[in-house]
Symmetry: C2
Subunit: 305 residues, 2 copies
């Protein structure tokens, strides 16, 4: 039995607890939360005890084998270092693509020093999409892969829109246009006295939005925002390519999913995998697929290969 703990009880933490409950080889021994939140959201905790620190968790239930970091990407390095140094393996869904490589290098040092393993960017993009892009290249080395996101709510763009002057609240929807290009549909609640046209111009000028077609729509309040999108998301990965005289090898991966639920499930599968890796920091392309699954290797070969 692999003992797993969760850091944070947002959407990811909540689904991670539920995904752990569905396994036969892992159990969730505790959740670390802010002291002021302790004991709230009993339904999301599903009977798992919550603690305000690693120390108090260890006193009550011992050291877990793995900590699933359900924190914002900006806190991943710090939390990974903290929990690795306490002797836990860690997994996270760090999603700032341009900083994955440097994050792996930093966390690798912490992991080697602690003789533990860490899987960085365990989610769907980065994550399983990255793995598929790797296989697509291995299957057709010459060609172009398009990653078409959506339709779905983009967390990064929603946060960026909320930070714009005159915007009280916002949700940004990503809509695929083909060829790996996207348009943005942003729903905003305006601060009083602001006009939609002025706010639209400011959003258009923001680096997050400047490069894509944009439409901004006003809604009355935050409650109305909750009705413009649920947690559904998706991706269409496409590659057409070949090698030498071989052309027109065509690959498509199409996925329609509950976004945080899938990320949490992948975190949980990677929590299993990380206990099977040598000390160091990894991304999902470094992890043998068989490590993600419960059960004996030869049973998996007989069932799936």
């Amino acid at each position: 039995m692999i003992n797993v703990a969760v850091s944070g009880l947002g959407n990811l933490g909540k689904y991670a607890i539920e995904a752990l409950e569905s396994t036969t080889d892992m159990q969730c021994v505790g959740v670390i939360r802010r002291p002021e939140s302790l004991g709230t959201r009993q339904l999301d905790l599903r009977g798992v005890p919550d603690f305000d620190s690693a120390e108090s968790m260890e006193r009550a239930v011992g050291k877990p084998d793995v900590m699933i970091l359900c924190c914002p990407s900006r806190k991943v390095c710090e939390e990974a270092e903290f929990y690795l140094s306490r002797g836990y393996n860690t997994v996270d869904s760090f999603d700032i693509h341009s900083e994955i490589s440097s994050t792996v290098k930093r966390v690798h040092e912490f992991a080697i020093k602690a003789n533990r393993a860490s899987i960085i960017s365990a989610g769907w993009d980065p994550g399983t999409d990255s793995v598929l892009r790797a296989y697509f290249e291995a299957m057709a080395p010459v060609g172009t892969t398009f990653t078409n996101f959506g339709r779905g709510r983009s967390m990064g763009h929603s946060v960026a829109a909320k930070a714009i002057k005159g915007v009280k609240d916002a949700v940004s929807i990503t809509i695929p246009m083909g060829g790996g290009r996207h348009s943005r549909l942003v729903y905003v609640v305006l601060e009083s006295g602001e006009t939609l046209s002025a706010v639209t111009e400011r959003i258009k000028a923001d680096n997050y939005f400047a490069h894509d077609p944009l439409q901004v729509c006003e809604v009355a309040d935050s409650q109305a925002l909750e009705f413009v999108s649920d947690a559904s998301h998706g991706v269409l990965l496409e590659r057409t390519g070949g090698f030498g005289s071989v052309s027109n090898q065509q690959f498509k991966f199409d996925m329609r999913i509950n976004n945080p639920a899938l990320t949490s499930q992948i975190l949980v599968s990677c929590a299993r995998a990380v206990t099977r890796m040598a000390a160091g920091a990894y991304t999902m392309i470094d992890v043998p697929p068989v490590h993600l699954l419960a059960g004996e290797r030869f049973n998996i070969i007989e069932k799936l290969v």
Copy 2:
């Protein structure tokens, strides 16, 4: 530079040479063929020297790092043992699903004894489809995966149809019916004096065909058979599933390809990977995806993750 040799110059061997030619980190140093074939099919050899034995190849070009076995599945064990014991790593596209597990166990012993590595069943099914089935389970542990093959020519069923009494030559096409079920469309050239209805009954009685809807069509001769199907094939892998309260996570992988060309490309990517594996026998679910690709790990992370 990884030195690779190829055993056999059928469709797979021919495409493997071409796929190797398209890499920057591998080169094809020789092809082992039957003595009576030596020097023929210059176009397929693409300037690569052919030899009638491992001994003569080693005398001329030295020991390769990897041997790609482009032989029938039934000969894989024997050839793997032979080349592993000579100190080569090996890859093959062994495709008898029910015997993969036992083949891995047997070849593992040869590989450990020789301190070399072997990747078994490196193709698309078994192979990359197996890997995708593993990821689909890791992403949605509860659910059903359907593997829908085709439309394309089935080598196994074509060989089985040719072996039926009264059949001079045959091609069997696999047509997907959904839900992982398939119908068979068999084109036959009859022996003189045979009737289509008698031959159809015999094909229907064969274990290869007894479980699926079947249609048998007569064509005049083997030349006409060549016009009923090319090398195109494909698969649609589908999974709908979830965990706990999460349902309706939907995954689809759709691929349309030149069949032997894709198998050979995957063999070549696995020839690269096998040089990065510890001694032993593996299938593709045991291989970290990053090992399949040329170049530095951190460059790959920056480009694909």
